[in-house]
């Protein structure tokens, strides 16, 4: 990171949106341009508000939300209605990164919306929403640039880099009219159809760079991280009903294997195939554990099928070409009082009881070199994970996988808790169950989306070395006891 700062400087300098060029968070700002966010004036950029801030808040809201929350959880079946909000997630990509560090200050008024910002829920077309919402933000920079944009390009082939940050002085003019996309990096170029700036060539944030979704009681957030140029993780969350009408909630998280070709396509295909399989089999009455097994097989077939397609992108990356698309998969189902998990690879599920005095647990066993070393008794966990081969996975979905071995497990929790479904981009920064529990904000079971944002923030603060994806599923024990269960916190 330190090294990157120096290189960052130029890029940052061009991003007037970021007020702290030398900070370590710089890459984050420069890469995603989170000023585009629909979240207006944020008081500060404190990256971590994770555990310190919330504790103060929860005590007060806890009781009242507690009453409010249980209804939502049981009503999970109703949740399908919110798919309207679900549509908001494409929009979220633009808002994205800004949300992660977002402090709790929004929580009081709009718990449900703080993910996408309030204007977004209604309109999926985020771009058009931006301008209206932006003015209060760091609009000034952008506005300024929009003018110079025309002035600078002419022959400013020289060092334009320095010119960009300065214009900050100017006043917010709502120049970036609706529809006009301005480069998040230099603020002066328009964005070409290929997604690059017409002035500085900078790649623009893509939809998948940051994705959020909240659906009833389940929420997921995925982020590109700070060191990768694209997000190769993917997720799917959904809810359905068992034949008896009781709710079933599903979360699938996949991590594309970078050394294979088109890992981003692999993870997206796997997550969506597994999700669809579950949405079909669970309402039919298939036992959730069996359903999970079948879903993993279906996901595997979807990834295998990608190997036959010609490369989607025109990039010819020799070192990637040998391998068929591949990814990991981890999923969780809450249905009929059961918690079913399934996985292939090194993405994980953790259990964090609402009553933090109880022990948290990791519910999955990695298909990885490190896990095998530990299992074989050749190394202890600390040694194994310190090794650079730790992350070499021994199981994955993809055409060149030797033999698909889906792992599934079923649990019947006796107390309420939070199910954390994540990729190694998160658990690298909270490996043990205790560390993960410590990273989960106390009120996460009531505000899973916010909790997921905080966890992604935790990974980014830790260095964000990989793509980060996490889904949170609050698990309530009994419908009628749920209220009290939550308040027992």
């Amino acid at each position: 990171m330190k090294m990157s700062e120096s290189h960052q400087q130029p890029a940052l300098a061009r991003c007037p949106g970021c007020e702290e060029p030398p900070a370590s968070g710089d890459l984050y700002c420069g890469a995603c341009g989170y000023d585009l966010s629909a979240v207006p004036a944020r008081p500060d950029d404190r990256p971590t508000l994770a555990i310190t801030v919330p504790p103060a808040v929860p005590p007060a809201p806890a009781p009242s939300p507690a009453a409010a929350v249980p209804p939502t959880a049981p009503h999970a079946p109703d949740a399908p209605t919110p798919p309207a909000p679900a549509v908001q997630w494409p929009a979220a990509s633009e808002t994205d990164s800004s949300d992660v560090p977002v402090p709790v200050h929004r929580a009081t008024d709009l718990p449900g919306t703080d993910s996408g910002g309030k204007p977004l829920p209604a309109t999926p077309g985020a771009h058009h929403d931006d301008p209206p919402t932006t003015p209060p933000v760091r609009h000034d920079d952008r506005a300024v640039v929009a003018e110079p944009a025309t002035a600078v390009p002419p022959d400013a082939s020289g060092d334009f880099a320095l010119a960009a940050p300065d214009p900050r002085t100017a006043e917010p003019t709502p120049t970036p009219a609706a529809g006009t996309k301005v480069c998040v990096a230099c603020r002066s170029g328009r964005v070409d159809p290929d997604g690059y700036c017409e002035n500085c060539g900078h790649a623009q944030p893509r939809e998948r760079d940051h994705m959020e979704q909240e659906l009833g009681s389940v929420a997921a957030v995925s982020d590109r991280g700070l060191r990768h140029h694209r997000n190769e993780d993917s997720f799917a969350v959904s809810s359905t009903a068992l034949p008896d009408g009781s709710p079933a909630v599903v979360a699938i998280v996949c991590d594309g294997v970078s050394s294979a070709s088109r890992p981003d396509e692999a993870s997206a295909a796997a997550a969506s195939a597994a999700n669809e399989a579950l949405l079909e089999s669970l309402p039919r009455g298939t036992h959730p554990q069996q359903a999970m097994h079948e879903a993993i097989v279906a996901a595997s077939e979807a990834v295998n099928a990608l190997a036959q397609d010609p490369p989607g992108s025109a990039e010819h990356e020799a070192h990637r070409h040998q391998n068929a698309p591949a990814c990991t998969l981890v999923g969780a189902i809450m249905a009929g009082g059961l918690l079913v998990v399934g996985w292939v690879g090194d993405s994980r599920v953790y259990w964090v009881p609402d009553d933090r005095t109880g022990p948290p647990a990791r519910l999955t066993e990695d298909d990885s070199w490190a896990a095998q070393m530990v299992a074989a008794g050749l190394m202890n966990e600390a040694e194994a994970y310190a090794d650079e081969r730790a992350h070499a996975i021994t199981g994955w979905l993809g055409a060149d996988s030797y033999e698909l071995e889906p792992h599934t497990a079923s649990f019947k929790p006796d107390r309420p808790g939070l199910v954390v479904v994540c990729t190694d981009g998160l658990w690298n920064y909270a490996e043990s169950a205790e560390e993960m529990a410590a990273a989960v904000p106390p009120e996460a079971h009531r505000r899973p989306l916010h909790g997921a944002q905080v966890l992604v923030g935790h990974a980014l603060d830790g260095g964000g070395h990989d793509n980060v994806t996490v889904a949170l599923l609050p698990f309530a024990v009994e419908p009628q006891g749920a209220g009290s269960a939550c308040t027992t916190v």
């Binding site: 890469a31 790649a203 070192h319």
Partner: protein, 461 residues
């Protein structure tokens, strides 16, 4: 005309081969851009005896090509008639025969002329300062005129080119092409005169150049072909002229679109290190850029038939942090608006990207295409340097350079060049590039090697 040329333009496709990944602090981005043009509605070089089209053509009016026919073209044949062409007399006779064969290859309706070159240029057919329209009658007349050609006088190639330019410039056609044959040095005008003539003709027509025998200057002939975006070659034995001329004319007849340019757009702060054509021959285009709007420049590529060429683009991008991605260059093939007023037509385009990563495996791997053509460009260079060293008596230098050439040619599978090299050096070990200079080298072999040193082979895919 605009419509016509548009309908006839072949499909261009652009493919970019590169490793976009850079390490932290990395700035140099290399890419091989493969441009392929296909299907312009022509026969791809085979002359079209379109009987139906020629009758009914009113002489003096453009033989406007009908639908499905090739584009309108004009070709001028420049034949060296200097005194040396009579030594031996077979040279002049072979040149006449070759020119006749080339005329036979002309597509009906093509405009053409024959220029006899000495210390002055004279259009010997049709001879009225204009071009003839190819049909059975004019072809016969032209061949009759060739029989009256005789050798005598000096050599001033610049004057030949200027006359050709005047003749071609008057014709309202899509493709303008010259074919030039010389057997001697350009002794009767100053090198600057030839240079000036080339500068004034560049971009106005394309020209293939051939040296017959061994008394001509390789660098003169290759510079003509290079400036006018044509091919250069040696025809050491005059008996081979007819076949070569026929081939050249077929090639010219296969051209479907002229004045195609490679446009390179780069973002602010990106520096262009070089732009080279690397296949079928190495041709550095870096210095031939003409600005085309903000941060964009055009590099001439001449006329295209059904063919494929590779370009090596190398740019320096500003440093950026790990995880960043930028567009390093946008490469497009463009065709100027025929009227010169409108916006050029973009035929196809490709993107060159830069992505910074801390994955060492990704950032250190070299794209095989880039590696291959980097080697081919070096091959052309070391042959040139080796032959220059040999001429200047620096035999150690020549041995080292030609040894390296043997090594490169053998490693890349450039058989033709390897064969040519083996006539100049004795190869002890090709893999290590260990060679000995041959004590006796035929002049023709050395000239052939030098002329063809820029020919490359494509990477096996």
């Amino acid at each position: 005309m605009a419509n016509f040329s548009k309908s006839n333009v072949p499909q261009f496709s652009v493919e970019v081969y590169q490793n976009a990944f850079l390490p932290e602090g990395g700035r140099e981005v290399n890419a091989i851009v493969t441009v392929t043009s296909t299907g312009g509605g022509t026969t791809g070089g085979i002359p079209l005896p379109r009987a139906a089209a020629s009758p009914g053509q009113v002489p003096g009016y453009g033989p406007g090509p009908g639908p499905g026919q090739g584009p309108s073209a004009a070709v001028v044949l420049m034949v060296d008639c200097s005194g040396s062409m009579d030594y031996p007399p077979t040279k002049m006779r072979n040149a006449r025969d070759a020119t006749a064969a080339a005329i036979d290859t002309l597509r009906e309706g093509t405009r053409f002329a024959v220029v006899a070159g000495t210390h002055v240029a004279k259009d010997v057919y049709p001879g009225n300062g204009q071009l003839a329209v190819a049909d059975a009658r004019t072809k016969a007349q032209a061949k009759e005129a060739l029989r009256r050609l005789s050798a005598g006088g000096g050599t001033a190639i610049g004057t030949w080119l200027r006359l050709t330019d005047r003749l071609l410039g008057a014709a309202d056609v899509d493709i303008r092409h010259g074919i030039l044959l010389t057997d001697g040095r350009n002794e009767h005008e100053a090198p600057e005169d030839l240079r000036a003539a080339l500068d004034s003709c560049a971009g106005r027509f394309t020209c293939d150049a051939r040296g017959v025998g061994t008394d001509w200057e390789v660098k003169e002939v290759t510079s003509i072909a290079s400036a006018l975006l044509g091919t250069a070659d040696i025809v050491a034995d005059p008996a081979g002229l007819a076949a070569d001329f026929t081939q050249m004319m077929e090639n010219a007849m296969g051209k479907e679109v002229a004045d195609v340019a490679l446009r390179l757009w780069t973002p602010v702060g990106v520096e262009i290190r070089f732009v080279k054509q690397v296949a079928p021959t190495v041709e550095d285009l870096t210095g031939r850029r003409t600005e085309a709007g903000p941060r964009a420049g055009d590099y001439p590529t001449g006329s295209w038939g059904d063919e494929s060429r590779d370009y090596h683009v190398c740019v320096l991008v500003p440093e950026a942090g790990i995880g960043q991605e930028m567009l390093a260059a946008r490469v497009s093939l463009i065709l100027p608006d025929p009227s010169g007023a409108g916006a050029p037509q973009v035929l196809s385009q490709g993107l060159v990207r830069a992505v910074w990563t801390d994955d060492m495996v990704a950032s250190t791997s070299i794209n095989p295409q880039v590696a291959h053509y980097t080697g081919q460009a070096e091959l052309a260079q070391v042959i040139q340097q080796g032959l220059d060293a040999r001429k200047s008596g620096d035999f150690d230098g020549a041995t080292a350079k030609l040894g390296r050439a043997v090594q490169l040619a053998s490693a890349s599978g450039n058989q033709d060049t390897a064969k040519l090299l083996s006539k100049v050096v004795d190869v002890v070990d090709a893999a290590t590039g260990t060679v000995r200079l041959k004590a006796k080298v035929a002049e023709a072999d050395e000239m052939t090697l030098e002329t063809r040193s820029t020919k490359t082979v494509r990477v096996k895919k």
